[in-house]
């Protein structure tokens, strides 16, 4: 879909990008990563011709980008940047509509598309459409930035540290949403970041750059387990086993676990507790509310008396969390197993330390 052939860019004597050759497949997320000044942003900006290469060729869909007018090329490639760059004098709606308007879309189509995109990035269109950028939080602005990039439904998306300027918690959410949206849209995405965890989490392939050269271009798993040279080895760090965990979603290893409801008779609870020390307690909607410790059972006459209530968000992980977050939670709280809930708080099952071990052993192999 996108190929760079021996692309070089120098500014006077400094070589920003040196004979870079890379192919990015359709529908893949390629994350370019490297220390600052390694040429990653320059590479990204050459693809939509914000920067012209000194030599070499860039092809999009087999067509040399130099053959089309820069403005026309850019309208067919989504572009989102770290500082977002929303137009402060335009509403959210007008910001998103900018490319469709440049492409002379019909008015109703633009309105429909704007509403569609707002709901895609998880914002209520009635509430947000007429807001101005200075009324948005950092995370909301980022999402509008992504919506604007997607507005004309371009097959390719270029993102320059799109989650760089927000707090870690918001970044976490935006990344989860990014994965979700990408599963739905299957765009070809080139994303630049300096955050290795982000790269490992989002990428189908990671391109590691150093001093203008491509050092390694492979899947995250391969990069973590077989670093091409010392630079990559040092770059991914000594905790690469841990980093690998962020590639695995809880969804894939969660196992069903016994649970009782608040109205379950006590003899059934005893039965459930025979096999393990804990049993999870849910309410009538199957939403997790706490747990019962087997040792408490003799003192109690009903589930209500035996249950230890807990805040759902604090005691459980959601099923779109990564294994890495989950493990860190379990180690932090000294747990052998942790309950898993879905986005609505419904009990899904549990993850035990032993199944995490099994999963890591699998990827190691």
């Amino acid at each position: 879909m996108i190929s760079l052939k021996k692309v070089t860019k120098n500014y006077g004597d400094t070589l920003a990008v040196n004979k870079l050759t890379i192919d990015i497949d359709s529908g893949e997320v390629c994350v370019i990563i490297g220390p600052s000044g390694c040429g990653k942003t320059t590479t990204l900006r050459m693809i939509n011709r914000l920067i012209d290469p000194t030599s070499g060729h860039i092809f999009v869909d087999g067509l040399d980008v130099n053959t089309s007018k820069p403005e026309h090329l850019r309208r067919s490639i989504g572009y989102a940047i770290q500082s977002v760059g929303l137009f402060p004098h335009m509403t959210v709606e007008e910001n998103i509509a900018i490319v469709p308007e440049l492409l002379h879309w019909e008015k109703n189509r633009i309105i429909r598309r704007t509403a569609e995109l707002l709901s895609l990035v998880g914002l209520n269109s009635r509430e947000y459409a007429s807001k101005y950028p200075n009324q948005l939080s950092g995370g909301e602005a980022q999402r509008i930035g992504v919506a604007r990039a997607l507005a004309a439904n371009p097959p390719i998306l270029l993102m320059d540290e799109p989650f760089g300027a927000v707090d870690p918690l918001t970044r976490e959410r935006l990344q989860a949403q990014f994965i979700h949206i990408q599963q739905e849209l299957k765009k070809t995405i080139i994303l630049v970041t300096h955050d290795l965890d982000e790269a490992i989490r989002l990428a189908d392939r990671i391109a590691i750059m150093y001093a203008g050269e491509l050092v390694q271009y492979d899947t995250p798993e391969a990069i973590l387990s077989r670093p091409a040279n010392k630079f990559v080895h040092d770059f991914v760090g000594t905790d690469r086993a841990l980093k690998r965990l962020s590639r695995i979603s809880i969804k894939d290893i969660v196992k069903p676990a016994p649970s009782v409801s608040i109205n379950t008779p006590m003899d059934e609870v005893y039965e459930a507790c025979k096999k393990c020390r804990w049993v999870w307690v849910v309410d009538n909607d199957r939403r997790l509310i706490g747990w019962i410790d087997r040792t408490n059972l003799p003192k109690a006459s009903s589930v209500k008396e035996a249950v230890v209530m807990g805040n759902r968000e604090e005691i459980a992980v959601t099923n779109n969390a990564t294994l890495r977050e989950t493990l860190s939670r379990m180690l932090g709280q000294g747990l052998k197993s942790i309950p898993v809930i879905d986005d609505n708080g419904h009990f899904v099952g549990e993850v035990a330390l032993s199944s995490i071990e099994a999963a890591t052993a699998e990827t190691e192999a």
Binding site: N48, L50, E71, H72, L73, R74, R75, S76, Y79, I81, S83, V84, G85, L86, F87, P88, H89, M90, T91, I98, V99, L102, Y132, P133, N134, Q135, G145, R148, A149, L158
Partner: protein
């Protein structure tokens, strides 16, 4: 600290103090003729003891209100009292002038003294204080600010103050006054219009390249430092030379003296604020916003038209406002090189040592500057994009 000790509104108390002092200084000057010096009359001599009592009473109200700083009602009473003092001082003065002229010789002149002007200032301090307290209700603020002025305007056109010397001076020059007033507007309007066009172009050009930025600002800054009188004078020689060499220029009105040098000088003066504000206005547009604009596929012209212009417009207009207000004042000097305008009265008055004639030129210039300022402020508000005003 002092404010806490006195426990009152210090601004308010200052205004009251000025107002009270003004009642015991010369309020009106009675002169046997237009240019001789005369005798000074204080407030009770023109308004009588009842008049003085009324005004003193109103000042007392203002004074007490400086201790009631909370709520809309005290602020509103304060504003009303201040407006009443303003209108009543004018009315007493106007009536006194008519009465005194009846007794004195018809050539006598009654001009406003320091006391009157002090009261005028004092009432505006009170109105300002009242406005400050009414910060969250714009409509009441406008009422407090403008009621007195509007009442005075109606009294003025109904001839209540016709026996005051400035207005006597006016009645002697009515036709000329209107002519010079319009000419003043013409000089300011045409030069700021030209200045705006050139200024925006230069300001934009300065942002486009480092090479142009320096010389443009160098010239714009230098011209601003040349004293106005000198600049007007400096233009006489080259322009006369031009019009002598090319008689055709002379035929279309380009000469060493008159409107041409005045308009050129005023245009040059209006350049700096407009160039500067255009430059700053365009420069302050976030580079990320421009990068995003180009990145989504806008052409350079589209970025300029759709992003840079709307974002810079408020600042550019702010520059035009500065240029306009400044030119209204500077245009007075144009009378010296034969361009006319309200400055004509000022220089004639200076020549004849006739204070009233000077005021006949000066007061309208001040009023014009205030009006232009208010209009332009409204315009700036109107062009400011909504997204830049709501900071919530």
């Amino acid at each position: 600290m002092i404010r806490r000790l006195v426990a009152g509104d210090s601004l308010n108390i200052t205004g009251v103090a000025i107002g009270l002092i003004s009642l015991y200084t010369g309020w009106l000057t009675l002169k046997p003729n237009r240019i001789s010096s005369g005798v000074s009359l204080s407030f009770h001599e023109i308004a009588g003891w009842p008049g003085l009592a009324i005004i003193l009473g109103l000042w007392f109200v203002c004074f007490s209100l400086s201790y009631f700083r909370k709520g809309k009602l005290p602020a509103l009473i304060l504003g009303t009292a201040a407006n009443l003092i303003l209108v009543l001082s004018f009315v007493f003065t106007g009536l006194a002038a008519t009465r005194l002229l009846g007794v004195e010789a018809p050539n006598a002149r009654i001009s406003l003294g320091i006391g009157f002007w002090m009261t005028f200032v004092a009432t505006y301090i009170m109105i300002f204080a009242s406005r400050q307290r009414l910060d969250n209700s714009p409509s009441l603020r406008h009422i407090v600010s403008w009621t007195g002025v509007v009442v005075l305007f109606f009294l003025l056109i109904n001839g209540w103050f016709k026996d005051l010397s400035v207005l006597q001076e006016f009645s002697g020059y009515e036709e000329r006054f209107i002519q010079e007033l319009l000419h003043h507007v013409f000089l300011v309007g045409i030069s700021v219009a030209i200045g705006t066009i050139i200024g925006i172009m230069l300001g934009t050009w300065a942002t486009r390249s480092k090479r142009t930025e320096k010389p443009i600002f160098f010239i714009a800054n230098i011209t601003q430092t040349v004293p106005s009188l000198a600049l007007f004078g400096l233009l006489i020689a080259p322009l006369s030379a031009l019009s002598f060499t090319f008689p055709s220029l002379r035929e279309i009105g380009i000469r060493g003296v008159g409107d041409t040098p005045a308009i050129i000088a005023l245009t040059i003066y209006s350049l700096l604020p407009i160039v500067r504000n255009t430059y700053v206005g365009l420069r302050q547009v976030d580079t990320a916003v421009i990068d995003a604009g180009i990145g989504v596929g806008m052409s350079r012209t589209q970025v300029f038209r759709k992003i840079e212009v709307p974002l810079a417009a408020p600042l550019v207009l702010e520059g035009v406002r500065t240029a306009l207000v400044q030119s209204v004042g500077l245009a007075a000097v144009a009378a010296l090189i034969g361009a006319g305008g309200l400055g004509w009265f000022i220089f004639q008055g200076l020549g004849q040592a006739a204070t009233d004639m000077i005021l006949l030129g000066a007061i309208p210039i001040i009023v014009m500057a205030i009006i232009v300022d208010a209009i332009m402020r409204t315009m700036v508000r109107l062009v400011t994009p909504e997204g830049l005003t709501e900071g919530n």
